[in-house]
């Protein structure tokens, strides 16, 4: 799985995030207070304006502490009933239709079907649920105000805050139930579609070349558009190779004079690896420490390459290497890219070595050679009892990682051939988590997104008409999905200039690399863009980055979603909801209907 940055650590994230939240809340609060005062002062004069602002603040605080769970619950129930009346279950029907006909549109011969199917169900659910939340939340209040049915509520002893919160909770509740059912269906859909087995093609079994102990190899029958190569030991048991991202165990069964080979369920297909990542650094061909390896000309600079037959090395430093954590030795998993500068032996893979090293005293284990499997995860088990480079026995934990810190050195043996690695490409598979739980965690991310869209929709609907509120929520959502890009445009790091300059370039069909003609018009355009970009930067800084709530990649590639990520999602979501609720409350409070 591609990890562009270091995995987030909740504790490290919390403090600056909380600081930013309080800072933003203070600035926004101050702006609202001053703006409110100026508006009131303009209408009623400074004294009365000040008084109105004070009363507003006082009422808001009083409303906040007097929020009644019973009234909120009642309003939430009303929102649920309204949703059901508005046939929200149609969304679920659409989802079922998508699942039923998914096989028509998906690549059934995919190289990695698990990734494809999981990405599909999670993405489809996200879009459907978010759209549903958008429509439900944005039209409800404006419709009530337009039909004047809001008076049946506001004439009761309810506070504006309770109206806003009741609607957010009601719509969220209906969304939650829908999401839960969708999740259940998705889970069984994926499990049913991907689960399969094969039979061993008995006619294909032949003695394994070079195996003197009677091992045999052959292939399986075709199932789900793929087949495997089978390697059996002398007893007839064994395993298959990895195809479409999974493998099977093979067991021999003898009944009377009849021998059958039974393949187990697919392994590593629906899984949740819990990786322990190390910190990566490099050494160049002369053995000097460098930040990165070689770029072999790839446009994508995620991986760095180490040159074979030289001292170039990729070094990972792992922490917390203890016998308690790894009682059966180190389960190393590697995904290594291979770059050949010449063809070499076509049927022979590029070879590499791994060495474990004690970072404190420099003691090393003997070389462990392997042949790199490009675009495939290589599993390697390193036992506790090892030998050092002179052949003396050493203990993995006692001699190489007494402090819990251990280095893994990786080199390419073949001259002028290269290995490409990134930090997340080599990790220790600490354990396997439950795939079902991982699936649930991914749905929690979608759930938080649904809560946010609902909150934004209700907030915008407190002061905008239904259609405009929907557009505003949609804009927040789209901006939220492209936060990174918009932020980069706002900072001027994207070629083509700001929004106005880009627009002019599009109209004139001008290449983004060409400089604009110097002159007054260009200065005006750039000046206007600077204002736009400041505004864009401010807005994108405040809007939630919806991609941070998506954990599709983790589940699709078979990695456990770390608790830290879930924690960050929850706290971020909660923070945004609180802020959006406050804004929604203030806007509704200022409206005549809610006074």
């Amino acid at each position: 799985m591609v990890l562009d940055s270091d995995p987030v650590v909740f504790i490290n994230w919390l403090r600056p995030a909380l600081f930013f939240f309080l800072q933003a809340a203070a600035v926004l609060g101050l702006v609202a207070l001053v703006g409110g005062f100026l508006l009131a002062a303009f209408r009623y004069g400074p004294a009365l304006g000040g008084d109105a602002t004070y009363r507003m603040l006082k009422t808001a605080l009083s409303d906040l502490v007097s929020l009644s769970p019973r009234r909120i619950g009642a309003l939430a129930r009303l929102a649920v009933q309204e949703s059901l009346r508005r046939r929200v279950l149609v969304g679920f029907g659409v989802f079922l239709l998508i699942l039923l006909f998914a096989g028509w549109f998906l690549d059934t011969k995919s190289y990695d079907p698990a990734t494809l199917y999981l990405s599909f169900v999670l993405t489809a659910t996200t879009y459907l649920v978010l759209l549903m939340a958008l429509f439900l939340s944005a039209f409800s209040l404006p419709a009530d105000i337009k039909n004047k049915t809001i008076y049946t509520i506001v004439t009761k002893p309810v506070r504006p805050g309770e109206i806003v919160l009741g609607r957010i909770l009601g719509f969220s509740l209906i969304g939650t139930v829908l999401l839960a059912v969708m999740g259940l269906f998705s889970y069984f859909f994926v499990v049913r579609v991907l689960n399969h087995t094969h039979e061993v093609d008995i006619a294909s079994l032949k003695s394994t070349p070079g195996d003197t102990e009677g091992g045999r190899s052959g292939r399986t029958t075709l199932a789900q558009n793929h087949r495997h190569q089978v390697t059996l030991d002398a007893d007839g048991n064994g395993s298959t190779d990895i195809a479409q991202g999974h493998w099977h165990e093979v067991d021999k069964h003898v009944e009377g004079d009849k021998t059958t080979y039974v393949l187990g369920p697919p392994q590593d297909l629906l899984t949740a690896r819990v990786p322990a990542y190390g910190k990566l650094r490099f050494k160049d061909r002369a053995g000097r420490g460098v930040d990165k390896g070689i770029n072999v000309g790839n446009e994508w600079k995620y991986r760095s390459f180490v040159e074979g037959g030289t001292l170039a090395t990729a070094i990972w430093t792992f922490e917390d290497i203890t016998p308690e954590r790894y009682p059966e030795g180190l389960p190393v998993e590697m995904t290594i890219r291979v770059f050949r500068s010449y063809k070499g032996e076509i049927e022979q893979g590029i070879r590499g070595v791994i060495v474990l090293k004690n970072p404190t005293n420099g003691r090393t284990s003997e070389l462990k050679t392997f042949t790199a499997k490009d675009f495939s995860t290589d599993h390697m088990k390193i036992g506790r009892k090892l030998s050092d480079k002179d052949g003396n026995p050493i203990d993995l934990f006692d001699q190489l990682a007494p402090s819990g810190e251990l280095e893994l050195w990786l080199q390419c043996i073949d001259e002028n051939q290269y290995f490409g690695v990134a930090q997340a490409d080599v990790y220790l598979r600490a354990r396997n988590a439950s795939f079902g739980m991982n699936f649930v965690k991914s749905y929690l991310g979608i759930w938080v997104q649904m809560l946010l869209v609902t909150s934004f929709g209700v907030m915008f609907s407190t002061f905008l008409s239904g259609a405009v509120a929907m557009m505003a929520t949609l804009a927040s959502l789209v901006l939220g999905f492209f936060t990174k890009f918009v932020f980069e445009v706002a900072q001027g790091t994207v070629q083509g200039g700001g929004p106005l300059e880009s627009f002019i370039r599009i109209v004139k069909q001008q290449n983004v690399t060409l400089q604009m003609e110097p002159g007054l018009s260009t200065d005006v355009v750039k000046g206007a863009d600077a204002v736009f970009m400041f505004f864009m930067q401010s807005v994108t800084s405040l809007l939630p980055d919806f991609r941070q709530f998506s954990t599709v990649d983790y589940v699709a590639h078979g990695f456990d979603i770390p608790a830290d990520v879930v924690g960050v999602q929850f706290i971020s979501g909660l923070g945004y909801m609180a802020a959006v609720f406050a804004i929604g409350y203030l806007f509704l409070r200022t409206r005549e209907v809610a006074r």
């Binding site: 690549d107 190289y111 990695d112 446009e299 050949r340 675009f375 001259e415």
Partner: protein
Amino acid sequence: MNQRARFIRKIVYVCIIAALLLPLSWLSQPETSESKGGLLAQMRKDNQLSQANLGEIDPASETIKLATLGMRGVAANILWEKANYYKKVEDWASYSAALEQITKLQPNFVSVWIFQGWNLSYNISVEFDDYRDRYYWVIKGIDFLKEGTKYNTNEPRLMSDIGWTIAQKIGRADEHVQFRRLFREDDDFNGSRPLAQRDNWLVGREWLTAAEQVVDKGVALKGESPLLFHTHPAMCLINYCEALEEEGTFGEVAKNAWKKAADAWTELANRDLPTVYNFTIRLNEKEFFQQRSEQAQAELNRLTPPGSREKIAAEKLAALSEKEREAHDTPAEQLTAEQRTIRYEVDQKLAVGHLELADRVTGEDHAEALKAAEEASQADFIANAIESERGIVNFDYWLLRCQVEPNDDTLAARKLIYDGDKAFLSVQLPQAKANYAQGFDRWRQVLDTHPKLLEDPNLTDELVDSITHYQGVLHQLDETFPQPFLLQDVVDKDAIFHGPRLGPLSAKPTDAEKPVAEPAKPAVETPK
């Protein structure tokens, strides 16, 4: 706004909608047994644009097209960008999924199938290190193109691309030995095809021939030269023969294969081929037109007063400017760059045309002379056009190969050299020596009979490789290299094509010439 105004406004809207729908409905009336249908239906039929004309109707494709509400072009563009991104970040599962979606959206956009099929087989496959993975992606590209033919049944470009990829990618890649082996073993791709016919060149040819049949039915061939298009099937058979021999199959199998290749080449030669000159040619008619020109020229010469040609040449020479004359009189090796250009133009000017000659004929023979000159010029033009087309596909060379290769002498010569190489690689030096010596003898006979073969750089290259091995064998056996060498003309010719490659005859063999190389030791140091 009161109720009445609102009602009237709605009625106006409905009327406008109805007014727009009426002509649309009239234009798009479907075709029935009684009527030709509306204008749109007729245009669709005339241009073979209805889905039923184009290929299979896929419910998935139709659904996704409808679901995009007419925005499928935009959706396809976005998906295309995404596919490019996935390719960049090496996310192959998402990449092929995006392709699937694009082709579902626009199944009759043939360029998408062609471009992305090529991408899969040629560009994505080489990203993988393991040749088996590479083969998987080559086949995925071919399957992708095959999927395209379901939606576009009468599209020769797609069929031709399938044939090309099966033949050329599998048969010419660096990994062609492994690819051809995997292709033979590939039950999933070949289905019930018998093992003997599971050769990529033969299977590729099937598709190329199918594409030819579609073109022969009248479907226009867009974006490809007809000459090359029709040459591919015959070349597949020739390449099949070469592959057989490369893998050590000689005797009757190779002989029959070469005969079939010769038949296919003759068939190509007899085919009417459109040209850029706006007339069709047949590759085997060059000699016919040359003969016709000669006859016409003979007739023209008979009618022309003696010495006319020389007289015209002298007049043309006298009319040259001073600069032109200087360029004409200067020896070729002393010409400046500018003079070379002038010299070329002067040569063109001085050439005496048939019509110029005919103009000198007076009296009652003038008309006849003009006719003969016209005939000779036309025949020359067609012969030159055929010659030019022949040159593009190396027609004469392959014709010669097809004639020479099925001969027993050639087959025996090739087999002996193959056995020699095999013995050399397995360090059976006396056997290698005997095979090489006999093989070179046989090649001498073949080359004496067909000296034109010496013009083939591939053949000289192959033979000089074997001669180099032979030299090494003799050296290992402490024997001297025979001089003069039997195939010295081959060595000399190869030196012209590729530069001198044969080492000094008395020198010890180089590392490259040694039959078995020492395995390289790992150059990695243990981390300190």
